[in-house]
Symmetry: C2
Subunit: 379 residues, 2 copies
Amino acid sequence: MKPAKTIGILGGGQLAQLITLAAKPLGLKVIVIDTSPDCPAAQVGAEEIIAKSGNDQSALNELAKRSDVITVEFEELFDVSMLKSIVATGKPVYPLPATIELIKDKLTQKEFLRKNNIAVGPFAEITSQDQAEELLAKYSGKMVIKTRLGGYDGNGNAVVQNVQDIAAAFQKFLGRPLYAEAFVPFTKELAVMIACGLNGEPAVYPIVETRQERNICTEVLAPAQISGEESKKAESLALQVAEHLGSAGVYGIEMFLTEDGEVLLNEIAPRVHNSGHYTIEACVTSQFEQHIRAITGMPLGKTDMKVPAAVMINILGERNGRVELKGTDDVAIIPDTHLHIYGKSPTKIDRKMGHITVTGKDVQTALERARKARKLLSV
Amino acid sequence: MKPAKTIGILGGGQLAQLITLAAKPLGLKVIVIDTSPDCPAAQVGAEEIIAKSGNDQSALNELAKRSDVITVEFEELFDVSMLKSIVATGKPVYPLPATIELIKDKLTQKEFLRKNNIAVGPFAEITSQDQAEELLAKYSGKMVIKTRLGGYDGNGNAVVQNVQDIAAAFQKFLGRPLYAEAFVPFTKELAVMIACGLNGEPAVYPIVETRQERNICTEVLAPAQISGEESKKAESLALQVAEHLGSAGVYGIEMFLTEDGEVLLNEIAPRVHNSGHYTIEACVTSQFEQHIRAITGMPLGKTDMKVPAAVMINILGERNGRVELKGTDDVAIIPDTHLHIYGKSPTKIDRKMGHITVTGKDVQTALERARKARKLLSV
């Protein structure tokens, strides 16, 4: 692979913005492809190719022509077959389209994990409503019906506990391929970022705890407040995943910590991830720089935390309308608080408009400060 | 002052680039004025107004119209009278033009310092070659002749030790107003960044040691390896300066540590400064975010280091020609090493093309790693 000078990114949202901010100081150029002009990445100096819609072949061709390596911020923007056709022309795409394909379909992802002896909860394909009812009985009366494709921020998930719930889920996901997971009674949700270099070398970030509301990540606590043994289990699970993914890139790994102290793998994201935003201030190498290192063949950087603790809170939109950022002065008073506004417009309910990271001596203090900061801010 | 949404910067070089990178996550927009298209700040998403030359009144008017507050990266780009005329229209400029004026003329700067009982070495205006010779005798046979205006990276300085040196300096600086400073036999050069909030509240960063070659800063060691007493003297000097500057902004203060352990003030820069680049990775609040906080009326952030030590090395151009960045992969292997390439083109001998910051447990390790990294890189 010749030295990369230009990174092409599919998607120009906040993840691409944060990759762009990390790429520039390394002497690299970024071009993104997005459907909206003035996307967050373009606002920090990425060139933007505007796609007419997803799967815009001519826009993708232009990106491929102008980039030395291509990566993915939003894996739904293009069909995997289109990414494969780019690789066929000799232009590298990382993660490999085959790896993205494997992860994108949550059922094949789960099958891949099970096949490689990575601990996951019970799951099965759903082929009919009747069969879903049988599964519900088998799964002790509580399970999650998920769409195999296109799920994002929980919008492809439905928790079901009876026949009516199943019927409603079938209605909601009409015509989409589905599968079910037994409901895992977890005590905490954990996550970890892993990086795989072009030479296969893995790097694991600290295990963090994630908290969700309405299926959207709201808080990330780093490091997770769990026992050393639990932490080791989670890390070893992540390393097992890294070993089998077979493709360069940074991945977000979501896990459940069960009531009996076991760690089960929940989901993999084939890209930088919301649960790794804290790494910008808290780790030696941010997940964004790490991803660039991974896909351009640079050696991976250290993943250690350089502060004892950090908490990240998402700034989700609370109304629909024009952005009116207020409260930044009040937030600035809170010590060790770092604001990240993405420049998205307009604001929408639950849209990820930014995040706040607070570093500190311990997770509890950082959490209190981060929550206080979030309350003072409106966007 | 109404909440600032857009910051206008006079100059679009690396300092403006690093301010822009800090402004964006705070939800602020940046517009810069520069004479070269595609300046470093524009490359990271600042809008750019291209000035035909320095003192381009219509470009300045446009910047003023579109900005909520104006600040300065390169204080030579516009005459202070032009900045004053902007303030007269009601648009805030920080630092205040009067403060910039005071600092820009190194002789009035020195007089200001002496008047306020801030320790400086002996100095005097030079009015003729004869009088310069008298001064040289008074200053024990070694002094520095400096241009009052326009000195930058040592290009307005000449060390003189005899009549021939004086004649050469007069030739070199023909027609420019001059002054002389007694040569201070220092053991170390120190520097410190100070910030003054709109309400006058000061914040002092750690004292660092700076090393120069050919009058250009090459290395910065943070914190300076000096005694606690010396450090306190330097900090108290910086606070004295902050008290008298009377204007919001971040300032770089350069000092001498003399052989007998005294600290003398050398020069003030009315802006973010090369000796403060280490703050990006090493301090809770970078000098760039701090400057934005200061000039927009936000509360100042914490200046503490979050790592025990950091060393910054400048990447100076070593030839004239097209940029060919090489060695970034080798640099990436060195632990705790952070690369900052500014995107300037072409490369020129001694042009500041980027910098490297290495964080670490101690200054010595960080220094060794930073020097190794610098050697591996060519630009």
